[in-house]
Amino acid sequence: MQTLREIPCGRTVTVSKVTGTGALRRRIMDMGITKGTQIFIRKVAPLGDPLEISVRGYALSLRKADAELISVQ
C-alpha cells in the first residue's frame, strides 16, 4: 500500500482509503478525494511542497504531510 506522497509526478492513481481524523480528513473527503477516485499528480510546488493534483476535473493543492493520509493504488 502506497500513500499519495510517494507517487511521482505525472502518474494517475486510485484512492483506496483516506486515513486520519477530524477536520483534516473531512476536508480531504469533502474536496472529492474518496474511495475509488482517480487522482493525477500534476506537479510539486517550486519549493518542494505542496503538491498539485487533478481530481474530479479540477486542480487541488495539498501538503505532502496531508497527502500521506491518502492511501492509493
Partner: protein, 718 residues
C-alpha cells in the same frame, strides 16, 4: 411580506459576481455575529421586499470551518425562505456535493448553473431538464459575468419562496445507509421540526458534534442511534463520515453520467497552460517576484505614494487647514478651539484619509489578484516557507506591503481565509519596519553610529526575526493551539475579472477602513493633542506653549522609570515613544521640540550632538528596537481593530507587540552592557531569565494539549 433568499455556493463559483448582479448597489456589508467572517446582504433589484443574504463560500456543510458553521447556522436557525445555489458548470462534480447537502435542509431551492458560456464554448453539454429532474428542483442556466439568466434565476427563487413548497431531496444512499438513517429519523421523531428530519438524521449519522449539542437528545436515544451507526459501519467497513461522503459522490457521478456530455476530455485547458508557466518549477519564483514588484512599485512607491503624499501634504497641508483656519479666525474662535479643530481633529481626519488613496490602489491590485486566481497560486508557491511560522503563504503580501506602510499591510491580510493564519499575520505584520520608521532609523544611525551602514539592514533583520520567532512562539500558545489549518486548497481556473467587481471590492475594503479604523485614529489623535497642548502651569489648567509643560510630559516622566532598564529612562525618550504612536516619524520631531529646536530635518540632524550626549550607543539601539517593534501607530492599531473585529484580540495584539518589544530591548541593553563590561545587576539577571524563558518558549515541543478530542494524526504531523 418580505422574503429572505440565501445565496449559497462554492468559493470561486462566481457567487460574488452573481450577488453583485442581483443586488446592484443595494448592499450592506458587515460581519456575522461574533466572527470575522464577512456578511453581505442586499435587496434584490426591482424587488424591494426581497433580501438576499450572501453566505460565505463553502465546499460542504461540515462542522469544522468557521465559514461552514456560519452558513449552517444561518440556514438552520434563520430559516431563509429559499436557497439560490450557484454551481460552477465547468466543475459540476465537486460543486454538486454542496448541493446534495443543501437539498436535505428542506428549504425551497433553485440551482443556478454558472459559467454556461464557458461550458458551451468548450463543447460540453449539460442537460438542464434532466438535471432538474434528478435534483428535484428548478435549474437555471446563467452566466453571472455576462448577466444572462440571472434575473430568471432570481424570479424562480422568489416564486418558490412565495409558494413555500419545501424541497424534498431526491437522492437515496445505498440500502444499509438508508436503513440506518430511517431508524435514526424514527428515533428522533418529534425531537426535530418537520421538513428537515433528513438533514438531522444524516448529521446524527455522521456523529456531527454541533448537531448533537443543538438537539440535546437524551443519552439512551443517542446510545440507540449509535448502535444503528455502528452496525452500518460494520457492514460497509468504513466510518460513518466517509460512508456519507462516498455515497454523495457516487450519487453525483450517476447524475453527471445522465446529464452531461464531455467533449474536451484530455485536452489542456487555457488555465492549465497558464499554470504550466506560472507555477513552473523554475519560472514560478521569478514570476512571483515580478508580480510582487509591480504591486509594490505601483501601490507603495509610485502611484500610491503620490496620492498619499498629495493628500497629506497638499490637501491636509496646504488646502484644508488654511481654509479652516481663516474661517475660524474670521468668526473669532478661541485659540484653544482653533488648535483642537486644526491640530487635533483635522490632523486626525487627515491621518485617516491620508492612507486611503494608497490603500485603494493596493486593494484594486489585491482584488484583481484574488479574482483572476493568482492569489491561490501565491499561497501554493509560498506555503512551504510561511507555514513553519504558523503563517499562510498569503502572508507574504501583507508583510511586503508592510515595508511601505503597515496600515494597508494589515488590511491586506483580509485575503487569508484561515482565521488563525490571519490573526497571526495581523499581529506580526507591523514588526517589519515601515516607511515611517525609517526616519527613526536614520536618526539613531546618524546620531550615535556615525551613519554606520549596518544599522538599517539590522532593523529589517530584527523585524524579520521578530516575525519568525513570534510565529513559532505564538503557534505553541493556547491562543493558537488546536488543529493546524488543513491546506487543502482549490487552485481555481484563471479568468479575467470584471472592472466593476474589482472596483467594488476595492471600495468596500477602503470604506470599511474609514468607518471602523477611523474612530480609533481620530480619538487617539485628539487625546495626544490634548495631553501635549494642555498642562498645569502655576497651579492653573491651561494651554501650554512648551511641550515640556504639558500633561504628556507628566505621563512621560511617570512611565520613564519603566524604560530605565532598557537604558533610556529619560522623560524625553518616553514622550517621544508615545508621540510615535500618532505616527512613527513623530519620534524624530518630538526629540527636536524637547531639545529646543523648532525646525528639524527628517532625520533630526540638528540635535544629533545633544542626543549622542544623552544616550549610549547601546541604549540608543535598544530605543530603536523598542520603537520598531512596539505597538504601531494609531492608524495601524485602528486597522488591527478593523481586521480582528474584536476589542479583545486588538488588545492581545497590541499587548503582545509591546511586551515583545520590551523584552527584546531589555535583553539587548542588559546583555549588551554585560558583554561590554557594564557590570552585573538585577537587570542582567532579569534579562538572562527572560532570554531563557524566551528560548524555552521557542524550542519547547509543539503541544496539542488544549485540543479536547484526541487527534493522533495531527499530533504525528506536528
Amino acid at each position: 411580506m418580505s422574503i429572505k433568499i440565501a445565496l449559497a455556493g462554492n468559493p470561486n463559483s462566481g457567487k460574488t459576481t452573481l450577488f453583485n448582479a442581483l443586488t446592484g448597489s443595494n448592499q450592506f456589508v458587515g460581519n456575522w455575529p461574533g466572527v470575522t467572517v464577512e456578511k453581505k446582504e442586499g435587496r434584490l433589484k426591482n424587488h424591494r421586499d426581497v433580501m438576499i443574504a450572501d453566505l460565505p463560500g463553502i465546499y460542504s456543510l461540515s462542522p469544522y470551518t468557521l465559514e461552514e458553521v456560519v452558513a449552517r447556522n444561518y440556514l438552520t436557525t434563520e430559516k431563509p425562505d429559499a436557497i439560490l445555489n450557484i454551481v460552477d458548470g465547468t466543475n459540476l462534480e465537486r460543486n454538486l456535493y454542496l448541493t446534495t447537502q443543501l437539498t436535505e435542509l428542506g428549504i425551497p431551492m433553485v440551482v443556478a448553473v454558472n459559467m454556461m458560456d464557458v461550458v458551451q464554448k468548450s463543447g460540453d453539454k449539460i442537460f438542464i431538464d434532466r438535471l432538474s429532474k434528478e435534483l428535484g428542483c428548478p435549474v437555471v442556466e446563467i452566466s453571472a459575468l455576462k448577466g444572462t439568466g440571472v434575473a430568471e434565476a432570481a424570479e424562480q427563487a422568489v416564486r418558490l419562496a412565495r409558494a413555500g413548497v419545501p424541497m424534498v431531496p431526491q437522492h437515496s444512499f445505498s440500502g444499509s445507509v438508508e436503513h440506518a438513517i430511517a431508524h435514526i429519523e424514527e428515533a428522533a421523531h418529534g425531537k426535530v421540526e418537520g421538513g428537515r428530519q433528513r438533514w438531522f438524521a444524516v448529521k446524527l449519522f455522521e456523529r456531527d458534534a454541533k448537531v448533537r449539542e443543538q438537539l440535546g437528545l437524551p443519552e439512551p436515544l443517542l446510545a440507540h442511534i449509535e448502535e444503528d451507526i455502528q452496525s452500518c459501519e460494520a457492514e460497509m467497513d468504513d466510518d460513518a463520515e466517509s460512508i456519507i461522503t462516498n455515497e454523495r459522490y457516487l450519487y453525483i457521478a450517476s447524475i453527471i453520467r445522465d446529464c452531461c456530455s464531455k467533449k474536451s476530455q484530455g485536452k489542456l485547458s487555457l488555465s492549465d497552460r497558464i499554470d504550466r508557466v506560472v507555477t513552473n518549477r523554475f519560472l514560478a519564483l521569478p514570476i512571483f517576484a515580478a508580480v510582487m514588484f509591480v504591486v509594490y512599485y505601483v501601490s507603495v512607491s509610485t502611484v500610491g505614494a503620490w496620492v498619499t503624499d498629495w493628500t497629506n501634504d497638499v490637501l491636509f497641508g496646504e488646502i484644508i487647514p488654511p481654509a479652516i483656519e481663516s474661517f475660524l479666525v474670521s468668526v473669532g474662535t478661541a485659540g484653544w478651539l482653533q488648535s483642537l479643530i486644526l491640530d487635533g481633529i483635522v490632523a486626525g481626519v487627515g491621518a485617516v484619509l491620508g492612507f486611503v488613496p494608497m490603500m485603494l490602489v493596493l486593494f484594486a491590485f489585491l482584488a484583481f489578484l484574488e479574482a483572476c486566481g493568482y492569489m491561490a497560486r501565491i499561497a501554493f508557491i509560498m506555503d512551504r516557507i510561511f507555514r513553519k511560522f504558523g503563517l499562510s503563504g498569503k502572508s507574504f503580501i501583507p508583510m511586503l506591503i508592510g515595508t511601505g506602510c503597515g496600515v494597508p499591510g494589515i488590511m491586506a491580510s483580509r485575503t487569508i481565509e484561515n482565521d488563525r493564519d490571519r490573526k497571526m499575520t495581523i499581529i506580526t505584520t507591523t514588526f517589519i519596519p515601515c516607511g515611517a520608521k525609517l526616519p527613526i532609523i536614520a536618526l539613531i544611525a546618524g546620531a550615535l553610529f556615525g551613519g554606520a551602514w549596518w544599522v538599517a539592514p539590522s532593523a529589517y533583520f530584527v523585524g524579520i526575526a521578530a516575525i519568525v520567532t513570534s510565529g513559532i512562539l505564538l503557534k505553541k500558545t493556547r491562543l493558537f493551539a488546536g488543529d493546524p489549518a488543513p491546506f487543502v486548497m482549490e487552485l481555481p481556473a484563471y479568468h479575467w475579472p470584471t472592472v466593476s467587481n474589482v472596483l467594488r471590492s476595492m471600495w468596500e475594503r477602503g470604506w470599511s477602513f474609514i468607518r471602523k479604523a477611523g474612530t480609533i485614529i481620530l480619538l487617539s489623535t485628539v487625546f495626544i493633542w490634548f495631553t501635549s497642548n494642555f498642562g498645569v502651569v502655576d497651579g492653573r489648567l491651561g494651554m501650554v506653549e512648551d511641550l515640556g509643560d504639558g500633561f504628556l510630559s507628566v505621563i512621560g516622566s511617570a512611565i520613564a522609570p519603566l524604560f530605565a532598564p532598557l537604558g533610556w529612562g529619560s522623560w524625553q525618550a518616553s514622550v517621544a515613544a508615545i508621540t510615535g504612536l500618532v505616527a512613527k516619524e513623530n519620534v524624530v520631531g518630538t526629540f527636536g521640540v524637547l531639545y529646543g529646536f523648532t525646525q528639524v530635518a527628517e532625520d533630526g540632524a540638528e540635535y544629533w550632538g545633544t542626543l549622542a550626549a544623552s544616550f549610549t550607543p547601546l541604549a540608543a539601539y535598544s530605543f530603536l528596537v523598542f520603537n520598531l517593534l512596539c505597538a504601531p501607530c494609531f492608524a495601524a492599531i485602528g486597522a488591527i481593530r478593523r481586521e480582528m473585529n474584536s476589542a479583545g484580540w486588538t488588545f492581545i495584539a497590541i499587548g503582545y507587540q509591546t511586551a515583545f518589544a520590551y523584552a527584546v530591548s531589555l535583553c539587548i541593553y542588559q546583555l549588551g552592557s554585560l558583554f561590554t563590561g557594564g557590570g552585573f545587576g538585577i537587570g542582567t539577571v532579569a534579562a538572562i531569565l527572560l532570554a531563557a524563558v524566551f528560548l524555552y518558549l521557542l524550542l519547547r515541543p509543539y503541544q496539542e494539549e488544549s485540543v479536547p478530542a484526541p487527534r493522533s494524526s495531527v499530533r504525528a504531523r506536528a
